[in-house]
Structures are given as C-alpha cells and as structure tokens.
C-alpha cells in the first residue's frame, strides 16, 4: 500500500495530511546537516554583519568607546554631503558607461574567438590572462601607459602629430580613461559569451542562411536573441561589480583630480577607515546596497522585453 504513494510519503492520515516517514526525516536531517556549514557561514559572515552594519548606521561610533544612538542623523548628514553626490555621480558614470563598453568588447572578442582559426586556444588564453592578473598590477601597468610624458598612448599620439592627453589629470577625461582601463580585463565576460555562442544552434543559422540572411542579419536576428540571457547575466554582474569599484580609484588616482574619480566605495573606505566614522560609513554602505537592489530589480523588469528564453518564459 505504501508503494502506491510518492516515495517517502506514508499513507495519509484520515485528515489527508501526509506524514513523513522515518526515512524522509532522516534524509531531511542529513540534507540540513550538509547545508549547515554554508548556512552557518552565511549567517555568521554575511547576514550577521549586514544586520550589525544596519544598526551601526543608526549610531555614532568611531570603533572606540561608547556607541551613541543617533537615529537617522547619519542619513540626514549623508544627504547633505556634497561628496556623497559626487561619488555617486562618478560611480554611476563609470558603471553605466563602463558596463556597455565592457559587454561590447567582450562580445566582439568572443565572436572572434569563436571562429575556427588556427591556435584559437592560444588566443583565448592570451585574452584571458589580464583577468587572472592581480588588479593592482593591472592598474600600475595602465598608470604607466597613461603617463603624460612617457606613457605609451601619448608617445603614439606625439608620433602622429596629435597633442598628448592628460589622461589621469584632466577631470573630464579621467573617468573615460578608467573605463578604458577596465576594458583590459573583460576575460570573464568573454568566456561566458563564448560558451553562449557555442550553444547557438547551427541549424538555425544554416536555415537563415538558406533564406538569404547575411552574416550581420544572422548575428542580430538569431545569435543575439539566443544569447540574450547571457547578455543579461553579464549586465547584472557588471553593474553590481562596477558600482563597487575600489582598487582602481585608490591606486590610479586616489579619487583625484578634484574628486572627479572619487568612487563611492572609496568614499566609504575613507569615511570608515580614515575618519573612523563607522556609523556614517555603514549608512553609506546601506544606501549603496539599496541603490544596487533597485537597479537590479529594474533590470529584471525590463528584461522581459528583450531577453529571450528558449523555454518560453523567464526564470521566476
């Protein structure tokens, strides 16, 4: 009689409520025990500190001495802080221009590396190497490349008679320069795009070709829609990542000139670990969290219009 019911479910009680068998209970316990390390880690190292920072954001605390409850005073000060808006603007500029640029470059590289050419694996490795190079090393390299006097770019510009550019000293150019720097290490997005491109059905492309579609038409009408979920994935990850840019700003420009490259997380760092205004810095961090959350939610909402899932519906 027990075999007539789904595995692990014993015959229902007269009320219709299934009763878990000993085996199912044992399985559940085992499952939770396996999950326990991760859950403990999540609670101890993510959720706990998040809650603590949320409470800290309502206090005045330097990391030493007494914690003074101030309510929303930190948030009041933040919204009157000129540098809050400056850093948010700089970060938004960097993210909203940098991510599309990164996606474009990564996609182009992936298309090239998807071609059947000799030694393509070597090329794939070469283009991925900057991604595994430490960020600090990359930044130092680019600071050298951008140097006004002897940097590679200005040397080439002088060679062709073009006036050199003050890449990291001109407030109007420093952010585009940092975006250019970020295009160096798009290996991760490139690899994800490459995997997606290799999953595009050859039959569809052949069928389109037989119908008279050229390469460009096939690319935009078939390939792009089919890899749109991956584009969406890279877009989400890119926005979240670039909104948290820190190392580049700290090493390349330290927020200058005139705070034109003062990024949000660098400002949080300064407030938290140079000024030791832990409550204030926690408030800044929570505002960033909410901004990223809202942007991500908007992206998910808009994704319904342009992301195509072969199964017919987006994941819930």
């Amino acid at each position: 009689m027990a075999d007539a019911f789904p595995l692990g479910v014993s015959s229902p009680e007269p009320t219709g409520k299934p009763r878990w068998s000993r085996k199912v209970k044992a399985d559940n316990i085992a499952g939770y025990l396996f999950l326990a390390p991760w859950i403990i880690g999540l609670l101890a190292f993510t959720v706990g500190p998040m809650l603590a920072s949320g409470i800290l954001s309502l206090t005045k605390f330097s990391g030493f001495g007494a914690i003074k409850w101030v309510g929303f005073e930190n948030y009041d000060k933040i919204f009157q802080d000129k540098l809050f808006y400056t850093s948010l603007y700089n970060t938004s500029y960097y993210a909203f221009l940098g991510v599309p640029a990164q996606l474009l470059v990564a996609l182009c590289l992936a298309v090239l590396l998807n071609m059947k050419v000799r030694n393509v694996n070597l090329f794939r490795t070469v283009y991925y190497i900057p991604t595994v190079t430490p960020t600090v090393a990359n930044v130092f390299l680019w600071v050298w490349i951008f140097n006004f006097d002897f940097g590679l770019i200005n040397s080439l510009l002088r060679l062709v008679g073009v006036a050199p550019v003050n890449w990291l000293w001109d407030p109007q150019i420093v952010k585009p320069a940092l975006i250019l720097m970020s295009l160096w290490a798009v290996g991760q997005q490139m690899v994800i795009f490459l995997a997606a491109l290799q999953g595009v059905s050859e039959e569809l492309l052949e069928a389109a070709s037989m119908d008279g579609a050229n390469n460009i038409r096939r690319f935009f009408s078939i390939t792009i829609p089919l890899i749109s979920p991956v584009i969406f994935l890279n877009l989400i990850i890119g926005i979240i990542s670039l909104f948290q840019t820190f190392t580049v700003a700290l090493i390349a420009t330290d927020g200058g000139p005139i705070n034109s490259s003062l990024f949000y997380v660098l400002y949080i760092y300064r407030k938290g670990f140079q000024s030791f205004a832990m409550g204030y810095a926690s408030g800044l961090a929570w505002i960033l969290f909410l901004i990223i959350l809202v942007i991500t939610a908007i992206q998910f909402y808009l994704a319904r219009r342009w992301v195509y899932y072969e199964s017919g519906s987006a994941p819930s």
């Binding site: 044992a26 316990i29 085992a30 025990l33 396996f34 326990a36 390390p37 403990i40 101890a44 330097s62 990391g63 030493f64 001495g65 130092f140 600071v143 050298w144 140097n147 006004f148 006097d149 002897f150 200005n154 040397s155 002088r158 050199p164 003050n166 890449w167 990291l168 000293w169 407030p171 390349a252 420009t253 927020g255 200058g256 000139p257 005139i258 705070n259 300064r270 670990f273 140079q274 000024s275 030791f276």
Partner: protein
C-alpha cells in the same frame, strides 16, 4: 548474530556531523595562552614576549632591526621581542582597527601623522612620568622631539628623524648653466629667488625628454606644503589649533606660488609623478632635479633605487630661505610609544630607553637611518664618520636641525588633507582661484576640527 557493517547513509550522517562539529570548534575563541602571557613559573624565571608593531619604512633595513632587537634581548634576559612589520600606508588603519578589536602590540610605532589620532583613540600611554628615567635630559633634546608632544603631553619617543634637506643633481644644474646651490648656501645666497631661477632653468623638454625641477609644490600634502606657508609668515592652524588658518592672505600667496610652479612647468602634477617608484624613480631617470623628502629617507633606503652613476651626481643642501628670510623645515620623526593597556610597561619602557641609548642610536646613525636627535650625538664619530664628503657636510645638517619646526598633525589629519589637496588641485586646474578654493575648504576643515575638539574634550585630553 553477525555484526552489521555501517551503511553508507550512516557513514555520511556521521561524517557530516563530525564536519559541522569541527567547523563550530574552529570558530570558537582560542583557548591557548596569548603572546605576552607569563609561563606561570616563578618570578625569577618569567619569560615575557612583547610585541612591537613597526612601521615598515623605518625597518626597511631588515638586518639593522634584527640586530637592534637581538641587542635589546641580550640586555633584558627573559624578554623576547616579536616584531610585526606593517607597510606605511596601512599602518594607521591597522593599528586603529586592532585597537577597536582589542589586539594591539605592546609597543607601537608613531609617525607624526598618527601621533594625535593614536593618542585620542587610546592607543598610547602618556610618557611624561617615565621621562626622568629615559636617560636624555630636556636640554639634550633636539627640536625633533617636539613632534611627539600633543596637548601638553609626550606620547612617544623618537627613534629616527628626517629633517628636511634638499637632495639635488648638481650635474643637471651645471648643465643648465646655474650656480651650484650648495655653494650659494655657503655664501648665504641660497634664497627663494635663486631656487626659482634654478628650477626654471633646469626644467623643460617634452615627452620622454621632459625634465622637472622639483616635485613637491605640485604634489605633496599639507604637512610638506606648510613649509612654504611658514615661509610667508602664515600658519596652517590658528594659535590654539581650533580652526584652520591656511586661507589667510599670506597663506594664499604661498598657495599661489606652489600651484604656479605647475603652471610654470617645473613641478609635475600628481598624475605626472604617480609612477612606480615615484620621485625617486624620476630622480634616478634624471627627469627630476631636486627633491626634499628628508634625506635620511633616501640615504637610509631608497638610494638603492637610484643608479650609482646618477647617485654620484647628487648633493645635499639645506632648504633655501623663503620670503621672510627664514627656512623653517619640517621633520618626519619616526617614534614609538607604549600601548595604553599593555601588561608589559616595564619591558616596553626598557625598549624605549634602549633605542635612544648611545649604542642603539650610533648603530642607527651609521646606517643613515637618523640624524642626531640627542645634541651630543652631533659631535660623535658615528655621525661625523657617516657623512659622505661629496654629498653633505655637518654644517648643512646643523642648519637643518636648528630650523626644525614641529608641524601639528591633528586627529583626522588624513581626512582634512584629502579636502585640502582637492582644493589645491582646483587651483592648479584653473577651476577656482586660491581664495575661492581655500575659503571653501577651510569651512569644511573647520567643521572636522570642531568635531575633533569635542572628541578631545570627551576623552579628557
């Protein structure tokens, strides 16, 4: 009845439970005795370990530091020193984070930038009551010792100092057809006009051939820019350090001079000098003629990054006199203090006594890590014998020692400096006049000083 073997499921359950238990045990606080705890033996056989947190630039010569610590341990049997070397840029955050977490060394290096902040945060013990047993009287102290005094108390003992003195490439100046600054100094003619003219003459070129005169005016921080402000009879803070004064008319003239040096082309912008190795690399490439970092900083360590042939062209000279005829110079006195809550005050103070003793100081002097900070050391063979004839003279150094003026590094100095440097950049970029930029930032800095004042009052300092 046969013994039933453990099933795979049971094994997995046991393995999982064991793993979870191990994870929880690993997260539990350590029960082992921490460094510094006594072994529990009799008082006579007590072994003590003191932890010394060291700011890396002062311990770059690793052999020297190990030798000093070994000598201290010989003089203090039963005491072991565990040194933690921390990079300069990370030092203050590391110490203050450790303080917040309750894990700090017994002895802490104290750079002038950090002195007031560390004292305010409870990292340092006032040393005034211990000073009579240090072995150095007030009369013997050079002005370098002033850097460790804040709010009327002494918070650290200097170990090595770095009075400002200029390092320049005499070949580059000769090639530019200018008089040698050391000779001008000897004749009493090394003034602001001579400095300006020299800078204009040596700088020029384009691209890889670009040469700069001196890096400091365009870059730097307020603790270096103060020298020009002092040189125009102005100050950075007001008399009781409750407000900024760097936007006074006289100070604004100094700012205009400093930022004008970039416009005139002989000082690089911060971006132009932001290369691996910084100004040291630029001097080594003969792209920078003069700098004044505190020469010990170079001679004690960074000279190794300047090629030998270029180093042979170098010469030291005291700072030129400025507009008011003076040459008050800043000093980067690297010091060490005792953690306020340490359990090893006696051993830590013994370290302070040892490091300022003749034996230790002569060793540090010979390695060129310090100038004499005890007046009698200026006449020692260790100091006079360490000078390089083609580079420096004792008279030059004496000139610098006598002109040391302590710059008061307030708590939250770094935060104020970030604002001031952004204002200076506005002037360089033509975004604002000196008056506009400094007036605006002065108000922001004053707000920070007011908060600091409140904290200081609450701390009872």
């Amino acid at each position: 009845m046969t013994k039933r073997a453990m099933s795979r499921r049971d094994f997995m359950h046991v393995a999982t439970a064991t793993s979870v238990g191990a994870l929880i045990a690993a997260c539990a606080p350590a029960a082992a005795p921490s460094a510094g705890d006594d072994g529990g033996g009799s008082a006579a056989m007590e072994e003590v370990t003191i932890e010394f947190w060291v700011n890396q630039p002062m311990a770059r010569s690793e052999g020297l530091w190990d030798t000093l610590m070994a000598e201290y341990e010989e003089l203090n049997p039963g005491v072991t020193v565990a040194s933690l070397i921390i990079p300069h840029g990370d030092y203050e955050p590391k110490v203050l984070t450790g303080l917040a977490g309750g894990t700090v060394g017994d002895l802490l290096d104290v750079h002038p930038m950090h002195n007031a902040t560390m004292a305010l945060r409870g990292a340092l013990m006032p040393l005034d009551e211990l000073m009579p047993t240090l072995g150095v009287s007030d009369e013997e102290m050079t002005k370098a010792w002033d850097y460790n005094v804040w709010r009327g108390k002494r918070w650290a003992i200097p170990r090595s100092d770095n009075p400002t003195i200029m390092l320049y490439n005499r070949s580059m100046i000769a090639e530019a057809g200018m008089d040698d600054p050391a000779e001008l100094w000897a004749e009493g003619k090394w003034d602001i006009d001579a400095f300006d003219n020299t800078m204009d003459a040596v700088s020029g070129g384009e691209g890889e051939d670009r040469v700069y005169g001196c890096a400091l005016p365009g870059g730097g921080t307020i603790r270096m820019q103060c020298v020009w402000i002092w040189g125009n009879d102005a100050t950075v803070w007001n008399a009781d350090e409750t407000a900024s004064a760097f936007n006074s008319p006289a100070a604004l003239e100094a700012w205009e001079y400093m930022t004008g040096a970039v416009a005139r082309g002989w000082a690089p912008t911060p971006a132009e000098s932001n290369i691996p190795g910084g100004w040291v690399a630029m001097m080594g490439q003969r792209r920078l003629c003069m700098q004044w970092p505190g020469a010990q900083f170079v001679l004690g360590g960074q000279a190794q990054f300047i090629p030998e042939d270029v180093m042979s062209e170098m010469q030291l000279v005291p700072l030129n006199t400025l507009w008011n005829g003076n040459r008050e110079v800043r000093n980067a006195t690297n010091s060490h203090g005792i953690y306020l809550q340490t359990d090893h005050v006696d051993e830590s103070w013994a370290m302070c006594q040892y490091l300022i003793s003749d034996e230790a100081q002569f060793r540090i002097i010979r390695e060129r890590w310090t100038s004499p900070m005890v007046k009698r050391h200026a006449e020692s063979e260790a100091w006079l014998g360490s000078l390089e004839p083609n580079l420096e003279t004792a008279e030059m150094w004496e000139d610098s020692f006598n002109n040391i003026r302590a710059f008061s590094h307030l708590p939250r100095q770094q935060e104020m400096d970030n604002l001031i440097q952004a204002a200076k950049d506005r002037i360089i970029l033509g975004d604002a006049t000196a008056q506009e930029a400094m007036d605006e930032v002065a108000a922001e800095v004053d707000a920070i000083i007011a908060e600091v004042d409140e904290e200081v009052r609450e701390a009872g300092l």
